[in-house]
Every structure is written in structure tokens, then in C-alpha cells.
Subunit: 380 residues, 2 copies
């Protein structure tokens, strides 16, 4: 526990007194070492060391008008999806058992490690983007703040008030709430629909990616019957489905108006619909999935139904998460440069992303993805 009696935080005043100087000298010793004589600086730092002085970031932020922190925010919805298995993990029991001598050894069974370590749950898209963001911040020597919350005004405002710039995995409709803050801090939206709302954007070229998968399936494998698995509740999903239909149109193949529902959260309708297709004897040759997570789930269902992948049914994904390399068969997919996208966001927020074309405009960085052909389409 942190309830042991903590002494009041030591402040510049304490250090100043201890070192026999003014508070300005203390401040200088930390922020502008070169402005101080060697002697006083050492005296101050020594006193600070003795007293365990840690400059208050709050006070500094208040005085300077910025915190120095860059934020990465995920709405709860997003997190629950991404980390659903983890969220179900039991809380660890008390870390100390009073009846034991010495430290308690926490048994393996209490850690829920199998659940947490499932590569299907980590690392996912958000995790890889986050890593890129954190890496770039580390390079720049800036701390990163990871936060989450609802898309209510209060929650978002709270996050915005903590950072100098905010990168967001947007939920539906969160762009509106966010635009209130883009006049005071820069905001980057990942994978959001283009719009002139003052936000910067970092996204992937879904059209090119989907075109490549479809071309591969159409020309290399000669597939003529398709279904699209995925939801249309994100811009990525919409773009991918749109190009899917476009590719079919150009190939002269009729396409459904609706994708096979792949609810990741709440009652899952994908399995149900694939069952229906199977019973009707209309299981398509290829299932083109909107995300790798969809694809991995679809593979399970399809196999449960007695089909072999890829012999009977081809399955493809989108994103390029690690779990797609570990599945059997390995997943053919479109890889997004997720770390690079995270890094780009950090640089935009830090103001080191290069010049903007015109004053008042925003970045709209679109990354080219690449087709990764593995076994689930019948190659390799």
C-alpha cells in the first residue's frame, strides 16, 4: 500500500533553504545549468539529492502552459474489443498473505497467463500503433500518456487537459466531441474518414490494399465466388467493403449488398450467418475479411463446419497482426505499417513532421499497405 506516512513533497523552497540560495537558483540548477556558477549549481543539486527533491510537473506545467506530454487515447469500446480476453482476467488476489513468513509466491494458476498471453489478444492493431507512437516519443525524449474513457465531453476534456497533443483511435461520432479541443491542442485521428474538421489524420490506403487481395484471388486463384466478412462501423471497414465490391464489379461478378456480420463485441452473428450459408450449400470459395481478427474467427467457424482452409474455403485478412503468422494455415493478409503510423502521429503532434502546405490545413498522411501472401489462400 501507499498509505505509509509520506512526508510532504519537498519543494524549491526547501532546497533553496538547504542550499542557502534563492528559489530561482534552484530552478536554474535544473532547467538552465549553464546560467549558474559551477559552485552554486553543485550545491543546489547536492541539497536536492539530500532532500529527495522532485520538481513538481504540475507546477511547471502550469507556469509554462504546457505539460510536455503527448497523449494516446483509446475509447473504452475500442479497448474492450482489443483486450476483451484480458478484461475477463480475474483480479489477482492480495499480493501479500499475512500468515506467511517472507514474500508470498504467487502460484502460476492465479495469473491467468494463458488468457492474457494469447497472441490473438496481443499484440493487435492498436498495440502495434501504440508501440510506434511510444518509440517515436522515446526518441524525442518526451513522455507518453496512455488513457482511455468514454466519448463524453467530460472524459475527453479531462484527457485533453493533460497533454500537449493527442492521438486518438476514434469511435463513431467522437470526431465531433474532439473538434472542440483542436483549437487548443493538435489532434491526430487514426483511420478516420477524411473531413475538414481541423484534426490531423493518419490512415492506410484501404483501397489499394483491398484491390491487391482481390486481384490476387481473382487472377492467381481464379476465384469466382466471394463473401465479405466484417462490419461497416468504421471508416476502414467501409473503404474495404467499397473496394471489394468495386473489384467484383470490374470482374463482372455479382456481389451482395451486405457483408457477413462479424460482430466482435456483443452477440456474434458471423458464425450464425456462415452456418446459414453452409446449410444452404452456398458457402463461397473465398471469405474476404475486413480484419485479421475477423479472419481468424472465420477460419475457426469454417473449419467447425467441416470445410478445409484453404482447400475448400479461402480466407484472407487485413492488418497484418502477429496472430496471423501463428495460425494454421498462416493468414494471407494486407499488412499495415502500424508502427510507422504511430510514429507519424507522434511527429505530427510534436511538430516535427515537416511543413504543412498552407496555413490552417491539416496533415492527412496515407500509408501504403502491402500484400502478404501466406497459406490461407492456397499459396505457399
Amino acid at each position: 500500500m501507499s498509505e505509509r506516512p509520506r512526508t510532504r513533497r519537498t519543494t524549491v523552497y526547501d532546497v533553496a533553504q538547504e542550499a542557502g540560495v534563492s528559489i530561482a537558483s534552484v530552478s536554474f540548477a535544473f532547467r538552465r545549468p549553464e546560467q549558474l556558477s559551477e559552485a552554486t549549481r553543485e550545491r543546489v543539486l547536492e541539497a536536492a539529492r539530500r532532500l529527495g527533491y522532485a520538481p513538481s510537473a504540475s507546477a511547471r506545467g502550469l507556469a509554462r502552459g504546457r505539460t510536455g506530454i503527448l497523449g494516446l487515447h483509446a475509447f473504452d469500446l475500442m479497448l474492450e474489443r482489443a483486450h476483451e480476453p484480458a478484461a475477463r482476467a480475474r483480479a489477482l488476489r492480495d499480493l501479500h498473505s499475512p500468515d506467511l513468513e517472507g514474500p508470498r509466491i504467487i502460484p502460476w494458476a492465479e495469473t491467468d497467463d494463458e488468457l492474457l498471453a494469447d497472441p490473438r489478444a496481443f499484440p493487435l492493431y492498436v498495440d502495434e500503433v501504440q508501440r510506434g507512437f511510444a518509440l517515436e516519443c522515446w526518441v524525442m525524449g518526451r513522455p507518453v500518456m496512455l488513457s482511455s474513457g468514454s466519448d463524453s465531453d467530460v472524459s475527453v476534456a479531462d484527457t485533453a487537459g493533460r497533454v500537449d497533443g493527442l492521438a486518438i483511435f476514434p469511435s463513431e461520432g467522437s470526431a465531433a466531441v474532439l473538434s472542440r479541443f483542436s483549437s487548443s491542442i493538435p489532434i491526430v485521428l487514426f483511420s478516420a474518414a477524411p473531413a475538414a474538421d481541423g484534426h490531423h489524420r493518419v490512415r492506410v490506403d484501404n483501397t489499394q490494399g483491398m484491390r491487391e487481395v482481390m486481384t490476387h484471388l481473382l487472377t492467381v486463384h481464379g476465384v469466382r465466388s466471394f463473401a465479405f466478412v466484417g462490419r461497416l462501423d468504421s471508416w476502414d471497414g467501409e473503404e474495404r467493403f467499397a473496394q471489394y465490391r468495386e473489384s467484383l464489379l470490374q470482374a463482372g461478378i455479382a456481389s451482395e449488398d451486405e457483408p457477413v456480420d462479424a460482430t466482435v463485441r456483443g452477440p456474434d452473428r458471423m458464425a450464425e450467418q456462415l452456418h446459414a450459408l453452409a446449410e444452404a450449400g452456398r458457402m463461397p470459395r473465398a471469405l474476404v475479411c475486413s480484419t485479421d481478427q475477423n479472419a481468424l474467427a472465420a477460419m475457426d467457424v469454417v473449419r467447425e463446419l467441416g470445410f478445409r482452409v484453404p482447400d475448400d474455403v479461402i480466407v484472407t485478412g487485413f492488418d497484418g497482426i502477429l496472430a496471423g503468422r501463428l495460425s494454421t494455415p498462416a493468414l494471407t493478409t494486407v499488412r499495415q505499417p502500424m508502427e510507422a503510423m504511430g510514429r507519424a502521429a507522434a511527429r505530427i503532434l510534436a511538430g516535427t513532421a515537416g511543413p504543412l502546405p498552407e496555413d490552417g490545413s491539416s496533415f492527412d498522411a496515407v500509408f501504403a499497405p502491402t500484400l502478404v501472401v501466406r497459406a490461407s489462400c492456397g499459396c505457399g
Copy 2:
């Protein structure tokens, strides 16, 4: 860039004026909604919404005496190791190319994705622990701050001043610097040697883990000639080597006094030493490695030397990172419950880890690891 003219952040004063109330009411509207009449509260929130008001976390932190943030800090050394390939990634070129109309499509080749996406570089030990830490914080609704820096006083103090509690991947000797701050904020050390320095600890039972690998190799595989690959620059390394020797002693096998050096940073001497062993015709039957990263590197070298794994040389690791599942042969290792360890640290810092036995004592949470038998020892 963030250089577009940003308006001054709106403050309580602005909102108060806009809503025609006092600043206290504005504050109450956000922090104690129940203390305000429905009418004023709504009026305030509406005004705040109109103005895009985001309460300053700095000011709040200053007034309240705490920031509400939990920190996870890694020393630069640690980071360079963990993310070395990533650190080498080129900076992205400018995200906008002035001569293009519309958004620029960043070519795949510019993203260095192959380098960044290497599972040998991510996720590693620190990444999984970090994930657990972040997950637990998300559950508690608290933001997380990720930071890094040198182990100088100033750098550490700077980090300490930003958070209410700090979890640390300690470097050699950083415990001393840190102990100055444990009187003002709780500090958790991962994998640090036990000591009564006021810090809390979260670590793994290296002794049990190493005993299990050794027993497996000795009894199941009947191995009689060993070498230990790894450095002794961390407590984990020391404990593992100690138990390695202990197991050999009990089996009546002579052991070297020194492990085969496996420098991860700087000039790598492991390859060189394995070469020497091979030339002398003294390549042991089993290489027991201190970490999975060591083991994966050792497998490469051993194979380069013309040995087959596991037929000629058995290789085992420690940690249980994902990369060990992806290697061929898959790595036999000891898995640490990394996410659980990260979660434990977060709970200790938040004060929700249960009671401490006596006042003034610290948590010392020791987690049991588990043996994961895969192909690199000849099983499976």
C-alpha cells in the same frame, strides 16, 4: 505542425463568465455535480462545451497535490536493448510533400516495417509487462505515463515529479537514485534484488524456474554436458546462473565459473565464445540460456557453426516471449507471467494490492513461472 495559431486554452474564468457564474461553480460542475442545482450545472457544462473547455491537469495537480497518473519508467539502456532494431529505423520523411495535390501516399518502402515488425524485437519482456500495467490502469480508470531516461538524478527526479507512483525496470545501481523518492511516492522495482530500501518489488521465482529446466534436461534428456549463456548484469541473470550451478552440483556435474558471455549491447562476445568452444571440440550438449533473446541468438550461432538444434545441441531459454514460439525449432523455455506482474505493480502503486503486514514494510511479490516444453530441447 502544431504551429497554427492556437487560441489560448480556455479556463474556468472564461467558462464562468460565459455561464454567468463564479469559477467555483464551474469547478463544482465538473468535480461535484451533485452539489450544484441542476440548472446551473447544465448552464456551466453547456458553456464549457461551447468554449471547448478542458480543465488543466497541471493546475488540478498543483492544487490537489497529486497528478492521478501512474508511471512506468525504463532506463535508456533497457530501451536500447529491447528496441534496438526499431531505434535504427530511419526517420520518416516529411509527411507532406508540397508538390503533390491532396494527401501524400507514403510508400511502403519508407516505413521500415520489416525492421519494426520483427517479432524478435516486439513484443519482448518489457512490452508484455507494460501491457499488463496499462491494462490494470485502464481497469482502474487511471492514465499511464510511459517514460524513459538516464539514471541521472535530474532525469529520474523529473519523472518522479510527474506521477503518483512509479514502476521501474531498474538498471544497475538505479535503486540508490530511486530511494530518494520513495518517501514521497511509492516505487515498484521489477526483477530487482531483494533489499530493505523502501521500494516495493515484483519479480519471478528464478530459482524454481531454472530448477525445472535443469531437472527436465537432466532427467528426461539425460544431458551431462552444459554451458550457461547469459550475462550476470541483472538480478535475474544472477539468480538463474546460481541455480544452474546448484543443479549441476547436485547432479554431480562440474560447471564453469563463468557463463558464456551474451552481450546484447555493444560488441557481442557470445558468438565468438561459441566459436571457440566449437573449434576446441567442446561444444556442450545443452546451452542453457538466461533469456529467450539470448537463446534465439545462440540458436542462430550454433546453427551457423554447423550444429543441428536440438539433435546436436539443445537450447533452452527463459521468459516466454512470443518470438520463442515462432522460431524453428520452437523454444523450450520458462514462462514468466509478465502481464500479471505488470498488473501487480499497478495495483501496488494504486494502493489496491491488499494490506501490508506491518507498517513501513514493502510488497515483495514473487511470481511462480512455469516450464514450457517445446521442440528446442528435443521434445515434441
